[in-house]
């Protein structure tokens, strides 16, 4: 496991931290020489997961959101974790256009975008305990990491 690099961060679930968290993850993966498109894909997916934690998990109360990010060869792994109310039916939640907050103009496309822009998305949640969104993507193929 020589060629791995890890970071994790924890921050207040304030909407003003959404941009910061996207930028931090994007900056961390620059070591893989990602294309602009790949950076946008990762930023969008991370943004969706963080927004869900702020809006759905914590109902806008200020608690903590955690991001774990790992790079192995050309693979990047990112997990967004909250300790909020959890999801009762993950399969249903992940259906495109399904949302429990239509009155707040949520589109129900959050999980759909994560799936569209990442190679793999796995959601683990327990009611009352929180939610962890694990995502994976191959990035910057054709260049060598850790330069």
């Amino acid at each position: 496991m020589g060629n791995t690099n890890e970071m994790s961060m924890e921050f207040d679930s304030r909407s003003c931290n959404e941009g910061f968290a996207r930028v931090a993850v994007a900056a961390f993966i620059t070591q893989l020489n990602p294309t602009l498109e790949e950076v946008s894909d990762v930023k969008t997916a991370v943004s969706e997961a963080i927004t869900n934690a702020i809006i759905h998990a914590y109902d806008k109360e200020v608690k903590k959101i955690r991001i774990d990010c790992k790079v192995v060869e050309h693979e990047m792994y990112v997990t967004v974790t909250d300790y909020g109310k959890g999801i009762e039916n993950v399969e249903k939640a992940m259906e495109p256009f399904f949302t429990t907050k239509p009155e707040e103009d949520r589109s129900g496309m959050g999980f759909a975008f994560m799936e569209a822009f990442m190679d793999e998305v796995v959601v683990i949640s327990e009611l009352g305990k929180g939610c962890a969104v694990h995502m994976k993507k191959k990035v910057g193929v054709g260049t060598s990491p850790f330069m």
Partner: protein, 108 residues
């Protein structure tokens, strides 16, 4: 945010990053303007926007639902490739005109 009203048109000049954080005020301000003025056409100008996530989709869909009840419409202009892809992914091209062209001068 920047807005401009011209007859029954409301122009909304969107920010660089259209996420949940920035959409909170856009939704509020937009709806106040729609309430106070006789608007039939909403034009979202993406000229400055380089980042958008599903929160942006929510704002556009929400405004579309309101205005279409009045017989009005929504247009998205100056959309870059990335935003275009995201709007299409959410199927918005089925309910509104989306223009990538830079024909209109920015800030009109």
């Amino acid at each position: 945010m920047d807005y401009r009203i011209q007859e029954d048109y409301l122009y909304v000049f969107l920010p660089t990053e259209l996420d949940h954080h920035s959409t909170e005020s856009i939704r509020r301000e937009c709806d106040e303007l729609l309430y106070d003025n006789e608007i039939l056409h909403i034009v979202f100008d993406f000229g400055e926007t380089s980042f958008m996530d599903s929160s942006g989709i929510g704002v556009l869909m929400g405004r579309y639902r309101m205005i279409s009840k009045l017989g009005g419409d929504v247009t998205a202009i100056h959309v870059n490739d990335r935003v275009y892809k995201i709007l299409n992914l959410a199927g918005l091209h089925k309910v509104m005109e989306i223009s990538q062209e830079k024909i209109w001068n920015k800030r009109m």
